[in-house]
């Protein structure tokens, strides 16, 4: 009756062999292809380093003006600009400027990469129910798998550093971008699509002139979510060598430095609020035509 109390599992030896086999297989794969995969990501690494250098080596007043100009362009709101100014000033005053710039540059590249991959993926998914059936469970795995787990193979393949950190962040942050692009396109009014068909629009014209513009508010919500999730990954990414606000937090955890932890944590919250308010204000400005309703 022992099997009733202990689940009849695989034999210890067999299980050990299986794990060993998979591990060795992956190690062999790493040895064989690690170099070329790393080569594949070299351009990305150069781009990351360039952005990082720009953000950290440009004099801080210049960066401040650039950021505030972008905020104004996106939100057209003095209030949001004031929030951003105060946040950045406080961050600088508490000596977290360089780390914050590193984090912002990382988030910026992650978001760009997520859009560059997520937008086409979302479009493909919206076009075919079959693609949607395949991609949806993959996205579920990407969102629920603990990020430490996929850090292991990424680090084995690429070592520690910026690029593996970037990949880990993008894996975690890209699902809302893909999902909301897909959703936005699928929610486009059928009557309007039929009209586009009736006027002889081809697939490209339908996509660029009807589907994407009408899905844009939903896509913007996806970008907003992607940024927020990328920020949430900053500390974990710092474990594999990504510089920025995550590293002091990591140090604080290891050494029980309460104040160091809370300052850097608040800085992350601060830039999260900045990104969120600005991207939401931009998204709302994009759908201004919906607000003014007749009558």
């Amino acid at each position: 009756m022992e099997w009733l109390y202990k689940f009849p599992s695989m034999q210890d030896g067999a299980l050990r062999d299986l794990k060993k086999m998979i591990d060795e297989g992956f190690r062999a794969f790493t040895r064989a292809y690690g170099g070329s995969i790393e080569g594949f990501f070299t351009p990305l690494q150069h781009f990351l380093i360039a952005v990082d250098r720009f953000m950290t080596q440009t004099p801080w007043p210049v960066i401040l003006v650039i950021i505030l100009a972008l905020v104004w362009f996106a939100s057209r709101s003095l209030k949001i600009m004031a929030i951003c100014l105060v946040t950045l000033m406080l961050i600088g005053y508490f000596d977290m400027w360089t780390d914050t710039m590193r984090t912002i540059s990382m988030i910026f590249v992650c978001t760009l990469l997520s859009i560059a991959i997520g937008l086409p993926a979302g479009i493909l998914m919206a076009r075919s129910d079959r693609v949607q059936r395949v991609v949806n469970p993959i996205l579920d795995v990407m969102q629920t798998m603990p990020s430490f787990v996929y850090l292991i193979p990424v680090v084995m393949l690429l070592g520690i550093g910026r690029v593996p950190g970037l990949i880990a962040v993008v894996i975690y942050a890209i699902p809302p971008m893909i999902r909301l692009t897909n959703l936005g396109i699928r929610l486009v009014d059928r009557d309007v699509l039929e009209a586009a068909d009736a006027f002889g629009a081809d697939r490209r014209q339908k996509l660029l002139k009807v589907q994407l513009p009408l899905a844009l508010p939903t896509i913007m919500a996806g970008i907003n979510q992607t940024i927020m999730m990328a920020l949430a990954m900053v500390v974990i990414a710092s474990m594999i060598g990504v510089q920025g606000l995550g590293q002091p937090v990591l140090k604080a955890i290891a050494n029980q430095y309460f104040t160091l932890g809370i300052f850097n944590g608040l800085a992350i919250v601060g830039i999260a609020i900045m990104f969120d308010r600005v991207s939401q204000a931009y998204g709302q400005r994009l759908q201004k035509h919906r607000e003014i309703v007749h009558g």
């Binding site: 006027f199 002889g200 513009p213 035509h289 003014i292 009558g295």
Partner: protein
């Protein structure tokens, strides 16, 4: 278009069955299987059965039917938004059904334009940018298309609204944008799918007038779908009445009102304001020899118009003259008045 006269639209033996295995049931339907039988035995829905309509170039063809009669399905076959199960749709001699995809797109861009019941405007574009949509799809340079669009917007009474968004306009004005967008395409065929059904009655009458005035200039081949018989009679040069996917009667408004094909049509016609539809010839009596006196009215005008013209004329016979001025019959004021309220009198006369 000067070098080539548009050849009109011809629909021949058109069948549409909805369902996964539609093609295999066409023969059964051709051999007389009913809509109910098809649905019960095979789970397929019969959309259209053996539609044959000829729409001459430059006229307004109205297709009338209640909801579920298949009228919206039928109009979507003309630009093949819906593929037929069997049959031919000839537009200017070319069979739309057989066109490959690229050719179909070109056909839709240049030969047809469509106006929709729910307007189907692009909410993120201004009125002007909505109007150039068809031209943009054709690939016309923006500057040129804007000129065309402005002209048509002015023509449908929307000058000054170019920079508004659709949401800022009332339903009637939104549909004017829809109409301008379709007209800007300058296609010989204009498809109007219940274009005015979503508008309230006063605005609907207004838009009907806009269309009739425009048609005097543009002479397009217009296919107009409606569920409203008054609208059908007012607009249609020819009317086809659809019921359960079959044409049960087609002809001019006179034919429909004076000689309804069956009780179903007769039932509709009963409620119609006859004075506005029936022409004086239908009520006049044959000319008594030599008695061509009294005031003259032209053949082809409606009873209501005749009554309005003659309200102040002296009693007695009124002569009806044809286009060349030749007397063709006589009518009394009393005959006209009774024809307006009497359902049967005119029908019998015309049948006689």
């Amino acid at each position: 278009m000067a070098e080539h006269a548009f050849g009109g639209i011809e629909i021949r033996h058109l069948y549409k069955i909805f369902g996964p295995d539609a093609a295999s049931h066409v023969d059964a339907v051709k051999n007389g299987m009913t809509k109910t039988e098809l649905n019960e035995r095979f789970g397929h829905v019969l959309g259209l059965r053996d539609i044959n309509i000829e729409m001459p170039s430059g006229s307004i063809q109205v297709i009338m039917g209640l909801s579920g009669s298949g009228k919206s399905t039928l109009i979507r076959h003309i630009n093949r938004l819906i593929d037929p199960t069997a049959g031919e749709v000839l537009v200017d001699g070319a069979d739309v059904v057989k066109m490959p995809e690229a050719e179909l797109r070109e056909f839709r861009r240049h030969q047809t334009a469509m106006v929709f019941q729910k307007f189907a405007l692009l909410p993120h574009r201004t009125v002007l940018d909505n109007t150039i949509f068809g031209l943009e799809i054709q690939g016309m340079p923006r500057q040129k298309s804007i000129e065309t669009a402005r002209r048509w917007l002015e023509r449908v009474g929307l000058k000054g609204f170019e920079e508004k968004y659709p949401n800022q306009l009332s339903g009637g004005m939104q549909q004017r944008v829809g109409l301008a967008r379709a007209l800007a395409n300058d296609a010989p065929v204009l498809l109007m799918d219940e274009a005015y059904s979503a508008l309230d009655p006063l605005i609907r009458t207004d838009m009907q007038t806009v269309l009739l005035d425009l048609q005097k200039e543009i002479r397009k081949t217009i296919v107009f779908i409606t569920h409203d018989l008054d609208e059908a009679l007012r607009l249609g040069d020819r009317i086809a009445i659809l019921r359960d996917g079959e044409v049960i009667q087609q002809g001019t408004s006179q034919d429909i009102v004076l000689r309804p094909a069956d009780d179903y049509v007769a039932n509709f016609v009963k409620e119609v304001n006859r004075g506005r539809v029936v022409h004086v010839e239908a009520v006049m009596s044959p000319l008594a020899t030599g008695a061509a006196g009294g005031p003259a009215i032209a053949a082809g005008i409606t009873i209501e118009e005749a009554v309005r013209m003659l309200a102040s004329a002296p009693d007695g016979d009124i002569t009806v003259v044809d286009a060349s001025g030749k007397p063709v019959g006589a009518v009394t004021f009393r005959q006209l008045a009774s024809a307006m309220v009497n359902t049967h009198g005119t029908g019998e006369r015309a049948a006689a």
